[in-house]
């Protein structure tokens, strides 16, 4: 029998189908980037012109539709406050739910599947529906009962009216699935061996969750928080009926005050102005502030997460 023949390796051929596909994916990427670039450039070009210290620190005391007289400080304060307040509600609630689902509940049981299904469905509910839910549940149901219980016979409702508290709670309900899903993912990524090691040393389940599992999941939890903030900062529909004010002469002082909001203000400026040409520069600048605020809130959360990650890697 002759020796086996090693056939020469043929030269590389260009496959037109894969070439087309590569081109197509590249084109899609360029398109997305171009759209984003046009939007940002447009906003920065028109909005940047109206940027001044006075615009940032000014209120709307004189004429909210007139360039040079209007400012956005109340809206920055209102939007930042409602987002931070929302985080205080949604992060603990979401984390506790995720811990229950991954650490305590039997994954195969019917009621775990029902909870998971409910969380997924919650994520698909349109935001205006959350707004109506907030009005119906928090203000008309909870708020009015609080009024009847705490301040019987009061002429003016204190709790049973739109307020920053109810708007934040409505946003928290809306962003709950985001936090739950992100936390669940980070909990599932923790090796089972760590839990076993802790339990085998005589730790209770709670001790294991508190000392081993949650510290490990912290970066993932913060990712959930970042996603929730990003989603909530720009939302207008859920706060329309639950707390946002068309105009307020002062900043909100308590949880039961209404507030002015950047996103809602953009809507007002673009639909209610008597002179759209005079208002347009403010509109652009306000949109730019909304984007900057969202980026800034994200940046803070990302920096905190990065810090925790480094600390976990170095000191632990």
């Amino acid at each position: 029998m002759s020796n086996p023949v090693f056939n020469p390796i043929p030269p590389r051929r260009l496959d037109p189908v894969s070439l087309c596909f590569t081109g197509l994916t590249g084109l899609a990427t360029v398109l997305i980037l171009a759209i984003l670039g046009v939007i940002l450039a447009n906003i920065v070009y028109h909005g940047g012109a109206n940027f001044s210290w006075g615009f940032f620190t000014g209120g709307t005391a004189q004429d909210m539709f007139d360039v040079g007289k209007s400012g956005v400080l109340p809206m920055i304060a209102g939007t930042a406050a409602r987002v931070i307040l929302m985080s205080l509600f949604v992060i603990p609630a979401g984390v506790i739910t995720a811990v229950y689902l991954t650490e305590y509940a039997r994954s195969s049981s019917l009621h775990t599947r029902i909870i998971r299904g409910a969380v997924n469905n919650l994520a698909g509910v349109p935001s205006i529906v959350f707004g109506l839910f907030g009005l119906g549940f928090f203000i008309n149901f909870l708020g009015q009962r609080l009024d009847a219980w705490l301040l019987p016979g009061a002429a003016e409702p204190v709790w049973g009216k739109p307020a920053i508290l109810w708007a934040s709670l409505t946003l928290a309900v809306m962003t709950l699935p985001v936090v739950i899903v992100a936390t669940e993912e980070s909990l599932r990524a923790i090796p089972q061996g760590l839990r076993e090691a802790s339990l085998a040393l005589g730790a209770t389940k709670l001790q294991t969750v508190w000392r081993i599992v949650l510290p490990q999941a912290l970066p993932g939890i913060l990712t959930g928080g970042i996603l929730a903030i990003s989603r909530a900062a720009g939302e207008v529909a859920p706060i329309l009926f639950t707390g946002a004010a068309y105009y307020m002469a002062r900043l909100p002082q308590s949880l039961t005050d209404q507030f002015m909001d950047l996103g809602y203000h953009v809507f007002i400026l673009s639909t209610q102005s008597p002179n759209i040409d005079k208002t347009r520069p403010i509109l652009y600048a306000t949109v730019m502030v909304l984007l900057l605020l969202t980026f800034a809130l994200n940046l803070v959360a990302i920096l905190i997460r990065a810090r925790i990650r480094t600390r976990m890697r170095a000191a632990h």
Binding site: R106, S108, P191, G193, L194, E196, A197, S198, L199, A200, L201, G202, A203, T204, Q207, R211, I212, Q216, M312, R313, A314, A315, H316
Partner: protein
């Protein structure tokens, strides 16, 4: 003489492992007619054996024979798995540990475990060993330091890590990590140490260190070790139990079981002809 316990119905009454226990102190762990099911499939079949105090007992057998499952009965780690059902008795220190009155947390403080894959916490070396002590309520810094040092010395790791106690445990080599896990387990002074293939992921040198360590530790601890490595069982254990398909085939002194097994299946396995 070799001692056998066979789950075959005809032999079910013959609990000859009592003899093994008589030869070396009281039984520390005892199972009586233990059956274990994962859902519909039976993983352990009528296991009755006695593990003597302060000796090394090795569980050997091919993959899936139930030896790790049995080991995990002794500190009730099987509780963590859904659909596990258990029949029969497991006694540790004379107490029925599946009694509903038994506090499983307290049981696990008395029965330590070392796992196949080393699983140090992503904390410092010091905090890994101190973890169990803190759970016990040890708060004083000097107490913690003393007991951490003692455990690391017992685990033959002190010399290597004393300069970097506050560095991450994840920076240690695989063998060092496994010895750290042993130090962590013995820090809370359990009477019993369960080891589930503790050296299977280690190189021969690291394995040698673990084996030396096990021989040193048996002065203070009752050790049960699951191993795939027959030479390892022969080197370090006083008693060996051979399992096959969920049954305890043969159990006796290691030297007898390896040189003069009374059951043909055992002989074929320990000589490497099957398994």
């Amino acid at each position: 003489m070799s001692i056998t316990v066979n789950s075959h119905p005809a032999l079910a009454g013959r609990d000859l492992s009592a003899d093994a226990a008589r030869n070396a102190g009281h039984p520390m762990i005892e199972t009586r007619g233990l059956n274990l099911y994962y859902g519909p499939s039976q993983a352990l079949k009528h296991i009755s054996l006695k593990v003597p105090e302060r000796v090394v007992t090795a569980f050997i057998g091919p993959s899936g024979c139930g030896k790790s499952t049995l080991l995990r009965c002794f500190n009730r780690m099987n509780d963590l798995i859904d659909n596990v059902r258990l029949e029969g008795q497991v006694l540790v220190g004379g107490q029925e540990i599946y009694d509903p009155e038994i506090d499983v947390i307290e049981l696990r403080k008395r029965v330590g475990m070392v796992f196949q894959r080393s699983n140090p916490f992503p904390k410092t070396i010091f905090e890994n060993v101190a973890y169990g002590l803190r759970l016990l309520g040890v708060k004083s810094k000097s107490d913690l330091q003393d007991r951490v040092e003692k455990s690391l010395r017992q685990a033959a790791l002190w010399e290597e890590v004393q300069d970097r106690l506050h560095a991450s445990a994840l920076g240690l080599s695989g063998g060092q990590q496994q010895r750290l896990c042993i130090a962590r387990a013995i820090a809370i002074e359990p009477g019993i140490l369960l080891m589930d293939e503790p050296a299977s992921a280690l190189d021969p040198i690291a394995t040698g260190k673990i084996e030396e360590l096990i021989l040193a530790l048996k002065q203070d601890f009752t050790i049960v070790i699951v191993t795939h490595n027959m030479q390892q069982a022969a080197r370090i254990s006083d008693f060996t139990a051979f399992f096959y398909l969920g049954e305890l085939v043969e159990y006796g002194r290691t030297i007898t079981l390896f040189t003069n097994p009374s059951i043909k299946q055992t002989e074929e396995y320990v000589t490497g002809r099957f398994g």
